[in-house]
Amino acid sequence: MPDLATILAGFGDAFTLLNLAYVLFGVVIGQFVGAVPGIGPVMAMAIAIPFTFALDPLVAISFLVGINKGGLFGGAIPSILINTPGTPDAAATALDGHPLAASGKPGKATRMALYASVTGDTFSDLVLIFLSAPIAILALRMGPVEVCALMLFAFSILAGLIGPSLLRGLVAAVLGVLCATVGLDPEHGTPRFYFGWFELYDGPSLVAVAIGMLAVAEILRRMAAVTRDSQPGAIRVQGDGDDRLSLAEYLSCRFVMLRGAVIGTILGAVPGLGSTAAAYMSYAATRQGDDGGVPFGKGNIKGIAATESANSAVVGANLIPLLGIGIPGSISAALLISAFKIHGIQPGPLLFENQARLIYGLFGAMLMANLTNLIVGQASLRLWVFAIRAPTSVIFPSALVFCIVGVYLSTGGMFGVALMFIAALVSLAMSACGFPVIVFIIAFFLGEGFERSLSQTLVILNGSSGALLGHPIALVLLAMAIGLAIWLGRGGRGQPG
């Protein structure tokens, strides 16, 4: 456990003017891209990662965290004002948000979304701050055998919970691990699948693959679908009279927000369960306890509080498995891994030993991003109405050019750009066939570590499966992975994340 001086120094690093400026910049970008339907914070983060190369690691990661947090609230704005979610996470917010806005209270609806989002987010950040270090300490006591079993367990959760079926999830996970075997093998150092391209000796670039599969594929898909902007007219936010949100109204939702935050935090800490599932689960729980006021689905303010507190609480909790055990809980956490790696930092429990100051700096930046999110959201609600109407015919081509430049900068040549384009085509093909791209990417990110721990495991066990009996934690994890796969394979699935 890091000492108090390191923790305080980390928080001190976060609260600098430069860091604040980048967090603010990130939150503004995040809210903007969240408000434009079809872009979203994941695409924005993917594009922004290579441009952070020149920044200090803490500043770079704070900037990305700002984009992510801003984007989650930004997605609620078009949900409420035009009944079109800016991000999938905000789909549930439209259920009560749009009817409330249509009834002449768009300011009340958007402010409730903002306050609930910040409340839920802050709650999960605090849980992250207090839980991740103890989890990392436990993780550090695990050997390669346990780590290998843990990764298999994570693969089974991800494959089972994301995407239309367990089989498709498993195919995506296997393809991701296979893609990670490109390059030098960890035990003998011989090259594999490099087809004469020496650039592949280190394996395919994480950034090129992530940007290609997440951003470029989506841009190509949208450009092939887009003809002309046809966004419906947005409701204008006045924010006066009955359109204001009173303190009493906010406080009346405190238990709803707390429940949403708890649901979001629990679901966020489990790899694979996304914020969309958390929002719907929180909404369903709140709806069950209907107190007889405004009916749900007709503009009940508690419906907005429930969904926004839950989907935002997922953000902080997603980092618990990433920082605690080195397994990303979501695609944005996976993108943060590539940001860490660009700056030469290996995510996982060792971070608390080797980079404790950076991690507590990140925690400080997360709290600062919440406050910034609140202030920017409050000040610029009227402005984002214009963002909703921004022409996608200009945004998507520009985003593609930024992707090309970003990957060129990150990989240092056009080979990376070509790789990004191939990854985009693979992503399009996988999506068309129903294979979850997110599982592929997370498995690809984890693949190298998985092969290394598998190699160490086989050496420790000396090839004897009976030696596994000396590793009860690994046995339990393997049993859980198999049990989970069987349960999920038989249809015991909730809502996909």
Binding site: L167, L170, T181, E187, R192, L220, A224, S393, V394, C433
Partner: protein
Amino acid sequence: MMARLSGLAVAGFGVLLLAWLIPVHTETVGYGWLRPQTLPRACAVALLVLGLALTIWPGPAGEPGPEVAPGRLAFVVVVVCAGIWAMSRFGFLPVAPVLAALLVLICGERRWAWIALGVGLAPVLSWLVVDVLLNRSLP
């Protein structure tokens, strides 16, 4: 039908890996527990088995994404591919505005002001940030 075909394609890829890609593109090493071919082979076998299972039990296909015209998508892919090739040959600054203009037009934009913004925004911003601010070279 599509689901079954995708299962067959996955199984076929598994066979291709086992029959050609792994033997030709990995080194054969005679010692150690985890040889260079071990994990790729395990993945190939898993793909073969999972692909066949998908062919037999295709299961749900998942939620459809945004509606895409395949011909239009192919055209966009060809334009972007040509743009990337041209960029590697002639450089970023002459090619990026042309590529951006083409893509803006493909997206259906016909308003001059927006076209001009689309053509200039990303190339100029990229040049400012990368060349001027970061002092690094563009493609």
